[in-house]
């Protein structure tokens, strides 16, 4: 077995630290952007309201009935309170641009950290929880940045970069493992296939989790506004409507579900090779199965009357919580065949 390069390993750790610092700055800028945009929208709206009032006065003065102006109040409210469904935004958001650039820089440093870890250990960098977490966080960010090319998902920035930071901190503080070889049970090409797809699927579920949380906030916010309430979360104006969030997260979830199915199958094939049975209800297998069933339920819910929308979003959130539970509590507190880290 080729020797482990401790020097490269240490470099990797420094890269991770630097990446985390850069993410922190990006997180702050993303948050500032949300705050600032909210303020600006509010200001624009006040101006608009003032000018509308003036306009109405003019209309009344000219003795013309303003019959058509209050029309479609609810529809306009929905349009005004959320971003466009196509997720195109009018107006420049300088801070958001800076935040994206910072995230790209952070991701590059992060990638350097992941790659140097792989080079240091002469294997794929996902052989223990520390590596799973750091590599998974990188996949989350890369998927997010790639999605930005197609759609303006910058409203997710605070959440995605925030989650990435949490993952990096958990990896470095909670799961830290120095660069090293893996035990014989993990020396298999299935480590490359099974775990990489699991990481990627988890990363996608992380994105849809953020979207589903926003979807719930948006739903209750719009309901309150429609009932004449006060907008307590004006930053949600940058977020698309609950329906477009639901549709987009469904598309991502469908893809991630296929990947999760593959993870389950590849895991079973590997289990047969390593442990002599393809399914044995090991704790990790149980929870992978539970997650699969929850997301299968989610897909069915989307095709069941009365279960779309909020309920589907809750299922997506529960599914993600199961993933987090599977990775943290199950790995740390439950003894099973998957206890490697």
């Amino acid at each position: 077995m080729p020797p482990i390069s401790q020097t490269l390993g240490e470099f990797s750790e420094r890269f991770m630290l630097l990446a985390a610092l850069t993410y922190t700055v990006a997180f702050i800028v993303f948050t500032l952007d949300l705050v600032k945009s909210s303020k600006r929208i509010r200001a624009v709206e006040e101006n608009l309201a003032a000018s509308q009032q003036a306009e109405q006065r003019v209309l009344v003065g000219a003795d013309m009935t303003g019959g058509s102006s209050p029309r479609g109040g609810a529809a306009r409210l929905a349009a005004d309170t959320t971003a466009d469904d196509s997720m195109d935004y009018s107006g420049r958001r300088k801070l958001a641009r800076i935040a994206v650039v910072l995230t790209v820089v952070a991701a590059l440093i992060h990638a350097a950290g992941v790659i140097s870890r792989g080079l240091a250990t002469n294997r794929v960098p996902w052989g223990n929880m520390y590596e799973f977490c750091t590599t998974g966080a990188l996949v989350v960010v890369v998927v997010f940045l790639l999605a930005l090319i197609r759609k303006d998902l910058r409203f997710l920035g605070t959440f995605v970069v925030g989650l990435t930071l949490v993952m990096l901190c958990a990896a470095t503080i909670g799961f830290f493992t120095p660069a090293g070889n893996v035990v014989p049970a993990l020396q298999s090409y299935w480590l490359i296939i099974h775990v990489s797809v699991a990481v990627a699927a988890s990363a996608l579920f992380t994105l849809t989790f953020a979207m589903s949380v926003l979807q719930l906030i948006q739903t209750s916010r719009v309901r309150k506004l429609a009932a004449g309430g006060v907008d307590r979360t004006p930053f949600m104006r940058l977020v698309p409507s609950a329906l477009s969030l639901e549709n987009l997260s469904y598309r991502i979830n469908a893809f991630a579900f296929v990947m999760w199915t593959f993870t389950l199958m590849a895991g079973a094939i590997w289990a047969e090779e390593a442990w002599g049975r393809y399914w044995g209800w090991d704790v990790k297998e149980v929870w992978t199965f539970v997650i699969w069933v929850v997301f299968a339920g989610y897909l069915h819910a989307r095709a069941t009357r009365g279960w779309t929308g909020t309920r589907a979003a809750w299922l997506c959130i529960i599914g993600y919580l199961c993933i987090v539970f599977n990775f943290t509590i199950v790995n740390i507190y439950f003894s099973g065949l998957h206890s490697y880290a």
């Binding site: 090293g180 070889n181 020396q187 893809f255 049975r277 069933v293 989307r302 069941t304 199950v330």
Partner: protein
């Protein structure tokens, strides 16, 4: 569902009497409904959880026994609820069997309906195409020509049909003689096929698992270096047959462990972590077959005689000689020890029932690299045998092996035995380095530590359902992919002639199920038509009906059409 309320009062709503058949039909409809399937799915997820919270008999029978002993109050109650056998419990089985019945009840009618749909022509052209979620119109000026002849309503419809056919639609040209010829087209039948394949494959996986449980078998065997295993019932340490197992299924192959190499990590950060386990074995397919040298490793099982042989454990087997009070050899050979930690601090039990006048028993630890701590207790510092040592207590008396009751070779029941010496006694415990001999007190005999072997633990398994499970789950994955990513779409194009001679074309698109690419398909179809007829860019923008973005409308549309059920 009886029309009368129990207290004799009149029901608010007069319910029709269903009768037995009606009730059954009602129950069946409920069971096969999407809502029930969803409920059962979520219930299955919840029901699977306890199996990860409590130890399970199939995986760890000893841990379950210990758990019940440690929790005498709650243990038996949990056991009554089958919480130590969750995945074979009545309630878990009930849930997944109901789920599968519901699935079959849902999938079979759907398969039949889809079979009919695949044979039938695309559905008739709706009267109001403008009601379709995607709708657009084209106007061809009277002067428009295609291939030298003017475009009429009939030729435009034929052109549209040809174009749709090229795009992979099944096409039906209709009403060609009338003033308003139209095209009905449909594609994406593989979406539903994929969906059905996925669900049928799940049944296949379940059947494969059942086949494995009925006709398979598994067993464990510990093999010390130099020893052999023969695949017969007596050859196994433990054996778990399937319900329909017969001893004739076992092919009498044999396997000898020539030597077992272990390599530990010597790097600072992971010092002592195992790096490599390699078992060099010699196998024979049958009593008269040729010998064959093979390598057995973790993640690289052997396949002989329809069974898989998996390396699942290893440890040390110190070679020990026990002489009794008469000076005769009462026991000689390697003794399998049970590793307790990563440093291979191993539990050892030695029984010498042949010793005379008293039977002898020893219990203690084997330490690969012994080291004495400040408190005088020896422990192992390394998994490799740099300073192998046995630390034993000895007993004499009745080992209890002669009453016919089965007893574990790894446990010494000291209740009926008398202690000869131990770490706490005056003489102190037995501490044996390699090659040393210890004389027991009172002339009871001696024990010597002659050498050190390693052993491997292998799982041997025959699972006839395994291939089926792989095939069906692969089919399920393919079906799932098709059902989620193929778009099932219907397109209608209707043409007509305006009073002023212009040819009018309208088209509408409808998707079944979720399809976010429908808008794009509508645009592509319009573009193809414009290119074909060389019509300028839209005078009238393609209409997406206001407030109804693609996917949601179809979803509603399919619900309204009674297709909302996708099991």
């Amino acid at each position: 569902m009886t029309p009368d309320t129990p207290d004799g009062g009149k029901p608010d709503v007069a319910l029709p009497a269903l009768g037995l058949l009606g009730s059954l039909r009602w129950g069946w409809t409920q069971l096969t409904s999407m809502r029930t399937a969803l409920f059962l799915l979520l219930l299955l997820a919840v029901a699977a959880v306890p199996g990860s919270l409590f130890p399970q008999r199939p995986a760890n029978p000893a841990v379950v026994t210990q758990y019940i002993q440690d929790n005498p109050d709650t243990g038996p109650i949990l056991d009554w609820f089958q919480l130590f056998d969750v995945y074979s419990s009545v309630w878990f089985s009930a849930i997944y069997l109901l789920l599968f019945v519901s699935l079959i009840g849902c999938v079979i009618p759907r398969a039949l309906a889809h079979g009919r749909a695949m044979k039938s022509k695309p559905p008739r052209t709706p009267r109001k195409l403008s009601r379709m979620p995607i709708y657009g119109t084209l106007v061809l000026p009277a002067s428009t020509q295609s291939g030298g002849s003017p475009i009429t309503a009939a030729s435009a419809a034929a052109d549209a049909a040809a174009m749709l056919k090229k795009r992979g639609y099944r096409v039906d040209l209709r009403d060609t003689d009338s003033a308003q010829p139209s095209v009905g087209a449909e594609r994406g039948f593989l979406k539903e096929v994929g969906n059905l394949v996925f669900h049928f494959s799940l049944i296949g996986v379940l059947v494969s698992v059942a086949v494995g449980g009925l006709f398979g078998y598994s067993g464990q065997k510990i093999i010390v270096e130099g020893d052999s295993f023969v695949n017969t019932l007596v050859g196994y340490d433990t054996f778990t047959p399937g319900a329909n197992f017969t001893a004739g299924q076992l092919e009498p192959y044999s396997l000898r462990l020539d030597n077992f190499d272990v390599q530990f990590d010597r790097q600072e950060t992971h010092y002592g972590q195992p790096l490599d386990f390699t078992a060099n074995v010699t196998t024979k397919d049958g009593p008269d077959a040729e010998e064959e040298e093979q390598v057995l490793k973790v993640n690289s099982p052997l396949n002989i005689g329809g069974t898989g042989i998996y390396l699942v454990g290893n440890g040390y087997a110190p070679v020990v000689t026990v002489r009794d009070g008469n000076g005769d050899i009462a026991m000689q050979g390697p003794v399998v020890t049970i590793p307790q930690d990563g440093l291979f601090t191993s539990l050892i039990v030695i029984k010498a029932p042949d010793a005379a006048p008293d039977q002898l028993g020893f219990v203690g630890f084997f330490l690969p690299t012994a080291f004495v701590g400040e408190d005088g207790v020896a422990f192992s510092r390394d998994p490799d045998p740099f300073n192998p040592q046995l630390n034993l207590n000895s007993y004499y008396g009745d080992l209890g092996l002669d009453d016919g009751e089965p007893r574990s070779v790894y446990v010494l029941d000291t209740e009926d035995l008398t202690e000869l010496n131990s770490r706490t006694s005056d003489e102190g415990g037995i501490v044996l380095g390699a090659g040393q001999t210890y004389d027991l007190p009172d002339g009871k005999g001696s024990i010597s530590f002659d050498g050190l072997d390693r052993y491997i633990a292998v799982d041997i398994r025959h699972d006839p359902g395994q291939l089926g499970a792989l095939v069906f789950s692969s089919l399920a994955l393919a079906g799932l992919t098709a059902s989620l990513f193929i778009g099932r779409r219907r397109v209608w194009v209707r043409t007509g002639t305006h009073a002023d001679g212009r040819t009018m074309v309208e088209y509408g698109l409808l998707a079944r199920g979720e399809d976010h690419r429908l808008t794009g398909e509508g645009a592509a179809i319009e573009k193809a038509l414009r290119t074909q007829w060389l019509v300028d860019e839209p005078v009238e923008e393609q209409n997406e009906r206001p407030g109804a973005p693609g996917s949601t409308t179809f979803e509603h549309a399919s619900h309204q059409a009674g297709n909302g059920k996708e099991s």
